[in-house]
Structure formats: structure tokens, C-alpha cells
């Protein structure tokens, strides 16, 4: 479980996070949604320790995130943009990450590698792979070490429909095994399909947090897109 309390972050004159509170429950898929610039990526990067918040605290399973790196061994991350060293191959990238984590090669989850049919691309330099293929490499890396917590930043944005479906199947299957997910998305049908809970972030605070189904009932709408639109149109007491 992840608890976020009073998280604040300023970039120059811009208040990106203004006292954000959020609980993320174990074994569930939590979707973080909100307009561009609302603070979704900053929130995710704060959980990852990539961005140091100015105030507030984040605890993961009772341990405070404060610059100690060991908690990241239990964490998988798929960034929004897939860019890698130009002259390395995907095989070298995976072995680098495996080496860094000190995991033995036979303990890896290579299911996505097989299902994306990436085997014959493994030894090519990463710069020669298409953007979508690199995004698949990113997805494989996020699940490779069987982490109990996976963070996905707009996971299906660069993927074709087939790859996107494979990734969604994987998320559903891993959730069934008790893995906790945090994902951001602009595609409401995807959130509806995958997420148990959602957090609607606007102007650096969580404006609504709860079950996806509850929001639709609350807003009196039959689909999530309309429910979120009505949420943006009027102030809602969460």
C-alpha cells in the first residue's frame, strides 16, 4: 500500500503539486487521470524517487521514500517515452538491468518478450527499432523482475492495437496474482477496462479518488468519459 500525504512540488514559479493526498491500495489497479499539466507525471516520479518533493511524504508499505534506493527493487516502471542508448541492443539492455538488480537470469518474467515476438529483434541496435517496438522493450523491462508494484506512464500510447491488447491482458493477469498497479492514461475506455480505483488530479491536488464504478454512479453517467467531463465542469467534494 502507498500513502501520499500533503505532497508539494514547485518548478520555478509553477506550483505543480499543491498538497496532494492519495491512498493506493494493494493488489488493485489505480488509474491517475487528469488534464495535461495537472501533475500526474510529477506524482509518479515522486513515488519513483526521480523527483524530490518540496513537502509532504510518501510511504510504501510503511517505509518512507526518502532517497534510499532499496525499495525500488520491488518496483517496475514503464516510462512514457522509450529512448535508450543508441548502440546497445535490447538483449544488452535487459542484461544490464538484470545485472544491476542482481537477479538471476532464470527468475525473469519473459512472457511479454514472447508475446510481443521480440526474440528476433533482441540483438539489433536499439536505435534501429521503431518507436512502437522500443515501447514494447520498455513494457518487457517493467515486468521483467516480477515486481509487486508496477508503475505505467501512459502505457498504450505508442502501441498498436494488438500490442496494446497484449499489454492489457498482462496487466489483468498480474493483477490477478496480487500485483499493485499505478497507471496514467488519457484513454477513458482503457481506464474503465483496467482500473479498480481512480484518482482525478487537477491543479496539483486529487479532486476525486475512489472506485471507478462509484464515480459513474455519483455523476449519474453511464460511461467514464462523460463522468470525468462532468467532474471537470463542476467542483466535486470527493
Amino acid at each position: 500500500m502507498i500513502t501520499i500525504r500533503g505532497l508539494t512540488k514547485r518548478f520555478g514559479s509553477l506550483d505543480v503539486l499543491r498538497g496532494l493526498d492519495l491512498e493506493i491500495r494493494r493488489g488493485r489497479v489505480t488509474a491517475v487521470i487528469g488534464p495535461n499539466g495537472a501533475g500526474k507525471t510529477t506524482l509518479i516520479k515522486a513515488v519513483l524517487g526521480l523527483t524530490r518533493p518540496d513537502g509532504g511524504e510518501i510511504t510504501i508499505d510503511g517505509t518512507r521514500v526518502n532517497g534510499d534506493e532499496s525499495y525500488r527493487a520491488r518496483l517496475g516502471y514503464m516510462p512514457q517515452i522509450a529512448r535508450f542508448p543508441e548502440n546497445l541492443s535490447a538483449a544488452e539492455l535487459f542484461s544490464m538491468l538484470t545485472d544491476l538488480r542482481g537477479v538471476s537470469a532464470d527468475a525473469l518474467d519473459e512472457e511479454l518478450l514472447e508475446r510481443f515476438a521480440l526474440r528476433d529483434q533482441l540483438d539489433k541496435p536499439l536505435r534501429t527499432l521503431s518507436g512502437g517496438t522500443r515501447q514494447k522493450v520498455n513494457a518487457v523491462a517493467a515486468f521483467l523482475f516480477r515486481p509487486p508494484l508496477v508503475i505505467l506512464d501512459e502505457p498504450t500510447a505508442g502501441l498498436d492495437p494488438v500490442a496494446s491488447a497484449i499489454l492489457k491482458d498482462k496487466i489483468v493477469a498480474e493483477r490477478g496474482r496480487g500485483v499493485t498497479f499505478i497507471l496514467t492514461s488519457h484513454i477513458m475506455s482503457e481506464v474503465e477496462e483496467l482500473a479498480d480505483d481512480m484518482a482525478f488530479v487537477l491543479d496539483g491536488v486529487v479532486r476525486y479518488a475512489g472506485r471507478v464504478g462509484d464515480l459513474m454512479r455519483h455523476a449519474g453517467e453511464s460511461n467514464l468519459e462523460r463522468a470525468v467531463a462532468s467532474l471537470m465542469a463542476r467542483p466535486v467534494a470527493a
Binding site: F11, R52, R72, Y77, R83, L100, N138
Partner: protein, 263 residues
């Protein structure tokens, strides 16, 4: 420490395959070989090689490292999401850049000397000193690239800053020192000139190498002072300490910028 070596190792594999790095090695190979063919194997060729090295290494290193760090930004994020400490990642990235750049330059310069041979045994030591000075400058300018890349968000601005830093240290600084020497020619300037030399790593490397080549007199009226100062044991110690400071200072600044940076 272990993670540092692993990161450096993989990054090295990436950098070594870069076309720019291969071109960099070939450039030194062609330039040194050409000078040795046309200027003979003597001190004259060595002086020219020294000047090319001192001019090219800072420029290529600071630009290559800055661009590399910008292109690696997303990859650095991915690595920081692994259980890796920031100082280890910083050290790994640093060595992964300094290592290949140094080897490319050292190979490019030494291979022609090995092939053509040297006039007198003493020049072997000078070539070695040249390689060491080149490695030191590579470290200094890679560290400066880290400081620039971590403190500037805009890629073009960072590149501009990198080139400006090179321009300042390799051309403008000398110009300013010369101007000051001309303006204050009536005053005893020896100590001021010594201080000015110690304050710029490129000048420091140049003076140390030219003195080894016994062409200190070419450096004008302060040459004798340099000879006296750097020739003495204390002078060599001070100069070496200054060069170490020039490596350690930017490395520390770069580490601080890297640790506090929000990715």
C-alpha cells in the same frame, strides 16, 4: 561501487560503437601521422601535436558529453527507477564517457609515434605526458558537461553553454591574459601570469608540456619564470595539485547537481 562498474561497463559498450568516437580516434591518428611525416620526428612535430590536442580535446569532450547526456535523459530516468544509488550512477556514467574518449585519443596519438619512432628516448616520456594531460583534460571537460547538462533544461542552451565554456577557456582567456600583459607591461607580471596559468586547465597543461619540450623560451618573457617555477620540485607539485583540483572541483559540482536534480 559494484553498480558503478556495471553501469560504466555497459555505457562503455554503447559509446565505443559510436561513429563520432571512431571519427575522433581517426582524426588524432591522421593528424599525428601527418605531422610526423611532414615535420619529421623531432620536437617540432610534438609541439604541433600538443597544440592540436589542447585545442581539440576540450571542444570535442564537452560537446560530445553534453549531447550524450541529453540523449540519455530518458535512459537515466529508467536507471534511476532501478535500485541504484545516484552517486553510483553518476560515477558509472562519468567513467563510461571518460574511458572511451581517453582511449580513442590516446590510441590516435600514440600509434603514429610507435610506428614512426622518436628521435630521442626523452620524447617517449613527453608523449606519455601528453597522453596523461589529454586524459586529465577529458576528465575536466566531461565533468563540466555534467554540470552544464544537469543545470540546464533546454538542450540547445546547454550546447551553447558548453561551446561558450570551451571558447572562454581555450581562446578568450588567453586573449584576456595577453591584453592584460600588454596593458600592464611596465609592471612585474610574473606572479600574476603564474596565477593566471594555474587558473585555467588548458593553459596549465600547455605550459607543463611545452616546458618538457624545452621550448619555454617560445612563451615570451615569462617563459623563464615558468621554467624556474615549474622546473622546481615545488612548482611541479603546485601544478599537479592545481590540475587535480581542476578535475576534482567539476566532478564534485557535477555530482551535487546530479544528486539534487529532478528528472
Amino acid at each position: 561501487m559494484n553498480a558503478l562498474a556495471k553501469i560504466a561497463g555497459y555505457e562503455l559498450r554503447d559509446v565505443v560503437r559510436s561513429r563520432w568516437l571512431i571519427g575522433y580516434a581517426l582524426f588524432f591518428l591522421a593528424a599525428t601521422d601527418g605531422l610526423l611525416r611532414f615535420a619529421g620526428n623531432g620536437a617540432a612535430a610534438l609541439v604541433s601535436v600538443v597544440n592540436i590536442v589542447l585545442f581539440v580535446i576540450p571542444l570535442v569532450t564537452v560537446v560530445f558529453a553534453t549531447v550524450y547526456l541529453y540523449n540519455a535523459r530518458e535512459f537515466i530516468e529508467l536507471l534511476l527507477a532501478q535500485p541504484v544509488r545516484r552517486p553510483a550512477l553518476y560515477g558509472g556514467l562519468f567513467l563510461g564517457l571518460v574511458g572511451p574518449l581517453s582511449v580513442a585519443f590516446a590510441a590516435g596519438v600514440t600509434i603514429p609515434f610507435v610506428v614512426h619512432g622518436v628521435d630521442e628516448p626523452g620524447q617517449r616520456v613527453t608523449v606519455l605526458a601528453l597522453v596523461l594531460a589529454g586524459v586529465a583534460l577529458t576528465a575536466v571537460f566531461t565533468a563540466l558537461a555534467f554540470v552544464i547538462a544537469m543545470r540546464t533544461d533546454d538542450r540547445l542552451r546547454a550546447l551553447g553553454t558548453a561551446i561558450a565554456a570551451w571558447l572562454l577557456m581555450s581562446l578568450l582567456y588567453d586573449g584576456a591574459v595577453l591584453l592584460a600583459a600588454a596593458v600592464f607591461a611596465d609592471y612585474p607580471l610574473e606572479r600574476a601570469m603564474l596565477a593566471a596559468t594555474l587558473a585555467n586547465p588548458i593553459d596549465l597543461a600547455r605550459v607543463l608540456l611545452l616546458l618538457r619540450l624545452d621550448v619555454g623560451a617560445l612563451m615570451g618573457y615569462t617563459g623563464a619564470v615558468f621554467q624556474q617555477f615549474f622546473g622546481s620540485a615545488a612548482g611541479t607539485a603546485v601544478a599537479s595539485a592545481a590540475l587535480v583540483m581542476w578535475i576534482a572541483g567539476p566532478i564534485t559540482l557535477g555530482l551535487r547537481a546530479f544528486r539534487s536534480r529532478d528528472f
